[in-house]
Amino acid sequence: MAEPTITLNVTRYRPGQDQAPTTQAYAVPYKEDWVVLDALNHIKDQMDGTLSYRWSCRMGVCGSCGMMVNGTPKLTCAAFLRDYYPHEIRVEPLANFPIIRDLVIDMSDFLEKLKSVKPWIIRKEEKPVVQGEYLQTPAQLEAFHQFTQCINCMLCYAACPVYGLEPKFLGPAAIALGYRYNMDSRDQGKEQRAIIGNHDGIWDCTFVGECSVVCPKDVDPAAAIQRSKVDMTKNWFQSILMPWGQR
């Protein structure tokens, strides 16, 4: 009996050669324990070495292999063929990003935005190393722990129609990471992350909520954004009602 196969319809785009992306179909062996990334690797190794895509760890840690699988942003290392078989699978580059080649997108916009929220601990004054670590209670850790799980895979940007329509929007992951440091009891740099509260920051978000749905790490950027809105509104009212009080 012939080995079962599954068809992958893969986006191809060769810069300088193609006017627009096209779709190429590949019939790859169907194996129950294969993920879409395994199928892509099979194509690259055995069928067509010209296919370009990003990948690295194959275990949902590096965040490199995000692509649109049947229109939904997914880590291809976690998208099993068995969940689609016997139907064909459409593999496209992450939505809302420009295409460099085939399935490879240009992520520089995301990287700039990520850097702009200063995702690191900022202290007004660093204490000397000899004085030891900055201590934290489990409850203080719990306040932001979920948001530390982000692997910068950009699936949330591909799922966000606001980012698709308004590319200036700071976007889910960058805001969630800014929020993560704002909520960290060791951090004192909230004022330096004012970009989060700008018009292109949290206030651009209309709470579609898909960012949290597609996140492979259950980070919930939508919650981070909406809670930031509440915090900022509370601070604003406080500053109006009690201008003499400390914020």
Partner: protein, 137 residues
């Protein structure tokens, strides 16, 4: 560290189609939620006119109320009611995301928070309805 951008002329930019919100159920439900505000705004306009009629005396008010009892207006209010119910439901869903509720060390599940909101809403609505019917009678 500065981010090196690839040459822009070689990139391919995809445009979001105007029908993007029809491509996924969750996007459609989002649009429906946003759209529901329009009907609530329309209802408020009618309500403002109703209050205005009240200032013009009992006859003008009675005439306006009579006008509202026509099938067209009843249909309008039914549509508004459906959108208002959907809008309120999504509001309670959103509230559970925005305001996490803690009981000691445990986080109350979002579905529970939404369900409690809906129960409170139903109880308050019932009380208001009973008060209305009692005072009217």
């Amino acid at each position: 560290m500065s981010v090196t951008r690839p040459e822009k002329s070689k990139l391919y930019y995809r445009k979001m189609p105007a029908t993007w919100w029809l491509q996924k159920q969750s996007y459609f439900l989002f649009m429906l939620r946003e759209f529901s505000s329009l009907f609530i705004a329309l209802f408020l306009l009618v309500y403002l006119v109703e209050i205005y009629q009240l200032t013009k005396g009992p006859d003008a008010y009675a005439a306006f109320i009579h006008k509202l009892s026509s099938p067209g207006w009843i249909f309008f209010h039914l549509v508004v009611l459906l959108f208002a119910l959907y809008h309120s439901f999504t509001w309670f869903q959103s509230s559970a995301v925005v305001l996490p509720v803690r009981l000691g060390e445990h986080l109350v599940p979002r579905q529970t928070v939404t369900a409690l909101h809906i129960v409170a809403w139903a109880v308050i609505s019932l009380v208001v309805l009973i008060l209305f019917l009692t005072l009217k009678g």
